[in-house]
Subunit: 248 residues, 8 copies
């Protein structure tokens, strides 16, 4: 509000006409109120990677964005949902490393995570791994230490229980599952940490492209479960890292 | 086929005209071919209860059916989906006992079950009990011994595991659950017996009147799970008893 | 864990026979085995309220549970989704206070929240208040300080922006909205804290009992938004409090 | 109506027999009765482009229609939903220019728009541009001046607010958005002009091919928002231009 | 904008201190900043009625709001979706007139509409009248002249065609229909004016509470049709009046 | 067309001005062109009953319509979907007989059907009878002879086959079924006559208010099956009677 | 039935032993019992074409079936849903003619239709022609005279009304439409003949692969409309021909 | 519990420290309770084939798993949902035989089934055979004798009834059907054995990828029917074999 008082004083002192003041007030109503920081996605501190959503962008567009970031001094950039073909094309322009399972391209190098808390990324089946890996790599890139617990679907409960220590020690748990999506509820009942459930489109028939897992997770009888969109590994990793860093 | 040969022989012997034989063949085409037993719902042996679906029938209609059965010598009749009001009205005409939780009315007395195998009826939460009890009582009425395991929802996994011996000893398991319906899959993974999953309409919001549990159960990653309609306790108890009696 | 180690030490010191220790372990099998936190709903420390889900339970059942808890020394118990009628009936047996808007009954007294972080509970419209209040009271009961921002729906964006400071200062934000559910995404873009979105069934027509807000929130283009079930104020408050307490 | 009155006058003057007049009326019953304007799509005045829906038509069919129009004197014809392949094939027969983003082919030249009012076409994200451009070009072709505001999705609210002047000055606003579709409601709350919302199929998972944005827009809590079909840029541009020209 | 410029001029003239001006600006931050029209629902000029959405509000709340408005000088207030019971209760506190068909309560008196253009409100069947009347009265209250064309469903096409002159003379058409919702498309093809389609929940079975009419209208093959929510008569009347007033 | 020629001749003879003729042509464009018979629902010959759709109409409205028809000489009027309460209220004004099962009220007397062909109305279960009876009575009222085959659901196939002669002798078959709706397909395969399938909302759970029977019938692998709306007994009876009367 | 009576008479006359008669009856149980006509698809009289559903069958399978039919003396065989590729492959084995628009292959020659009544096949748009042509050719092949009325969608109502005489003269009408499917209702209101509505999957977005047209047609407010599956031209043509031949 | 007492006694005797005992208790809570056998899918006895779900696994992954199994002594391994391409690639590494219809690859040799009971696998149409064969081969591989009854769809009921003896003699019946899925209910009514219904995605239009058959089967009015996921031949065969082996 200081700026505004200053402006009014300039009007009082005759240094600015009322008309010019009105225009200024009208043109910058929100910026003047201190909202510069609402664009947090882009204003990350040096060393923290930037994330580009690769789907629906051409290789040329991606290369262009990465180049522009490199010039502005970004040391690490992630590109999610990047097909192998696009990755090759981008790589021809700008050197990136490519993780085929998670379909993530990485410009620069992901710094070693140093968070106090650990995020446990649990995946029910082999087919859920692309989504789980996307979550894990995004979380690591944002500074979180990650434990991977794969192939722990509830139809073989002992595999999950076998790693109960790891799950119970985590500050945040990501539960990735398709088909009936029961993993989220079972883990929600076993731990007291927040559980971010990621339904996947893995399955067939009455799965309806992930609807069954989505509804299952939304209806979880465990109180510590919330849900992101089907196959949204990025969102889960991003959100888990936000939560993991609370209090640090 | 004997009847038919007899009929043809009567034609041969001139005891029946071809026209009369044709009429008889035409009037009872299926029964005469030995299909009398296709009406199995009604042809149960003495001592085995008959089951009436009470929903959509008036108290008068139900009383009438029970009276007719009593006259034909039935010793035990079950009426499912019977509201307390209708139960009172029926009881004024024909003495029945009424189980309020399962909403089952019983004329006569259910004989003590004597099956070799046991059916485990598992229910996730308190609100699932009406459906679970319907399944249990129907199965008992059809001669099966039943073990009830209630309040064993997967968000408190230890409660389920605590009774694992009972579940693993059952010849058939009925898994009754609403909300996310994960119980069916978890049990399916724990036992090698057939599991009949009953989704219930318990829940709210994205439950969509049982759709979430239904889809969850249909997509179970356990191979020994099949599903009946939402809230269909009767079907589960009936089918479980059929399976339980195989080989006896 | 201390209790269990203590018990084992008493066995070691000969102060307790193995048989008595086994009996004690067996009676409380999971808590004593260190999985106390599996059953976290019930094992809250002194002074932290217990929460009972009131829907589908009779007034008698609720009174019974509250009485049992009172006897075991609980100082505060919350009952959610309690109708005014049931609240009166419970109150006749056990003195409770009743919050009609959130439909929460309270036995004892909610202790004053002392958390370092603050949870901002934002609600789009007047009709969303029951769900928002449920979330707010549950979070407060679990020890979190709460800021309420009601009637901040995005069709009147200035009302939301007017309180931007409060929202941006929160450690966790709960966004409660029905109809088109846009509030979650707009807030998600304004803050960098985790946002728990609660779709409500407020609306009509193509709202389909909350489906529109649910899908809208699941598809949020903001990366820090996760979603709980339609009208699930309890879950949002519970989960927000878990996150708010991380690192404390 | 003039033609018909003229015909009746010719009958009155004895220049035409009633029988011939009847035949003429019968052969063109509706046009002659003054309903010529019900066929408005085809009877546009000279200089105003005709629009062909290209999807589901072969390149040969399109070429044929364009040729026929050229012969009838049309100076400008638009072909919407034209793939690059078809555009090449059409171009080999009839010279057209092709806008790859909006997938519109143009025979002749779009005249410079001269409308008093301006239509603001707002698009949430880069992937929504094909639909937005289709709307913009159609509106321009029908004579409306258009302001494009792209990449103004509500997760980065400042970008939208930054251009508030432009939006508020528009006579009609078109809001194009996929995913959660919140843009329509936010704009609806900011302006008092009619807002035509176009949900797009941009998104994945619980987007269900545009259903989430569609439902979100239909449930908008802003009273000045109406909705067209998913990805229907043509309809939005056409309707906006109709509204923009009211009173001119 | 005049008020704000006036305020700045008073500062310039030394008639108001910058601090007082700041305080005044801060207390009414958005209206004074020229965004009065953001809050257009509430800031209507003298003589133009205010509209309250009555559903989900108690009679007491409604009475309170109307009283407050009366004190602030509003001469006419509409309350939509007002049940007869609530209307009686409100009337006991504040005198209103009540239109039972449209379920609208009116405080004060709707001024006689004077718009140059006319809005044609067409309804397919008798059961659609409540929604149609809501649209018509809202449009009239906002100053638009309205022509009602009721019982013009397309299964009796001659009734619609009989009134073609009226429809074709309208500046905006509102098409209200349930069941198969074909009315919107038929009218859309007959006129060149914008058509606002309002699906209603009238029907049964595969109507699915208005879904059939909604989808039908969204898929209209007429290019001048846009759609509002099921049963949203208010929105249609409000939006139609906005469009009707363009250029005036 | 005669009227129109006459009109033109009057213009020729100077008995009517061209302007008046134009007005007349414009005002009655469709009627004058010979479309009087498009209103066939209302123009039924003497002795053929008129049908009123009772749902959504008050008893007063129904009484009024019946009275008006009586005055115009109608000898028989049917009122469908009439609740017992409304029937009593109507009866107090205008004497009607009431069929509680089909919920049809009858003013006057249905004439004895005399059609050459017979319509077989088949219903799967007892709960489907209201819909089946509505179809049967409507068909009879429109002059068709009807055979009723009730309780012939396919789970007891012998009951259906037992009456195969009747079904195969029918000129049109109406198949009324809820739940899985299999009756339509089984009958479609047994007969070569047209089968009109009526899904009913009878069922629960995954029935989704008749959706399962509806989809089942639409997907019938029998080529002679078409479908009307859920619970639309009227439509089935009306359409069957139309077909039954072809060639008579 | 003659054969069977003959058989019984031969038994009576001693020309056949009861045992041989039983064997004969048992080997062809249903045909001999007079149910031969349940297999009506295959038992069509000489000169009437047989129809093969080509989708999901390989070219080899189709060739094989056609060859077998040719050998059994069929003079005309239709193959529906035949892709151009399969048609070429079939043609290499068995000479057929191929209709690319309807995707029907014809072995032999369709006899000239001679039915007294005419079937009017109406299609809303150009994209609906494949389905309409399938219906038309199937109806012709089964002996019905067919009138085609294409491009008569209700957004250009005059085109439909222009051909009203033809539609009103038809004994059965087939209404083929995608998008909003309004054509069926408009025609249903114009004629008193049975209308078979065929929704097509033509459209995009909220069309949901034909769902909008399907629901629209099922909810038709015209009483003489029934519906077949989406894109089911064959079923409509087959059923229309059955109805058209009633009474002949 | 013996182990636990032993452990406590060792603590008492000083043979184990309390800390070590605590760790042991915590690490093996579930294993110690006898859960070794929960992994029944993998612990099948020698001679019983192992089943691999081939979908979503690369040829390399499958080859690797088969090789590993071969080394561990498995004599027969089934790979389901194996495309011909993958089968060739696997075969190049590890010799398998491939069943193209069921898409099953077999390493080793399926032993001759010897079960007392027989499973009847019924399929409605030719297009359902892949799913039916998957069920049949899986059941045979697990030791069950199987009778195949193909092309017994209910639109040609006599084909099904012709083989009634076989169906009625089966201990378990699998009913595979797409489109309207009526086969399951008809068979359910004919036999008293358990019926496992498998909806298939065969069909088009309102089939919605198997939804119609799925809902139809879930709503079966026969009490002995339960349902597995759409196209889940494996599950049906596996479960049927479990049931078939009960009591052996």
């Amino acid at each position: 509000m200081d700026n505004m008082l200053e402006l009014l004083k300039r009007v009082e002192r005759g240094e600015m006409t009322p008309e010019d003041a009105l225009l200024k007030l009208k043109k910058q109503p929100f910026e003047d109120l201190g909202y510069a920081n609402i664009d947090h996605h882009r204003q990350l501190r040096h060393g923290i990677p930037e994330v580009i959503y690769g789907e629906g962008k051409t290789a040329e567009q991606i290369s262009g964005i990465v180049s522009a970031m490199r010039e502005r001094g970004y040391e690490c950039v992630l590109i999610t949902r990047l097909t192998p073909e696009k990755a090759s094309a981008v790589n021809a322009e700008t050197p990136i490393t490519y993780e085929p399972q998670s379909r993530i391209g990485i410009f620069g190098k992901i710094p070693t995570p140093t968070s106090a808390g650990v995020i446990a990324v649990c995946a029910a089946g082999t087919s859920d791994l692309p989504v789980a890996e996307e979550a894990a790599i995004v979380a690591e890139a944002l500074g979180s230490r990650v434990e991977r617990l794969y192939d722990v679907g509830v139809a073989g409960l002992h595999r999950l229980l076998h790693r109960l220590d790891t799950i119970m020690a985590a500050r945040v748990v990501i539960a990735v599952a398709g088909m009936e999506g029961a993993l989220a509820t079972v883990i929600g009942g076993l731990v007291s940490a927040p559980v971010i459930a990621v339904p996947t489109s893995v399955g067939y028939g009455a799965n309806f492209q992930g609807l069954s897992a989505l509804l299952s997770m939304l209806n979880s009888c465990a109180g510590n479960v919330s849900v992101v969109n089907i196959d949204n590994g990025f969102g889960a990793g991003y959100l888990a890292s936000l939560i993991n860093n609370i209090g640090e």
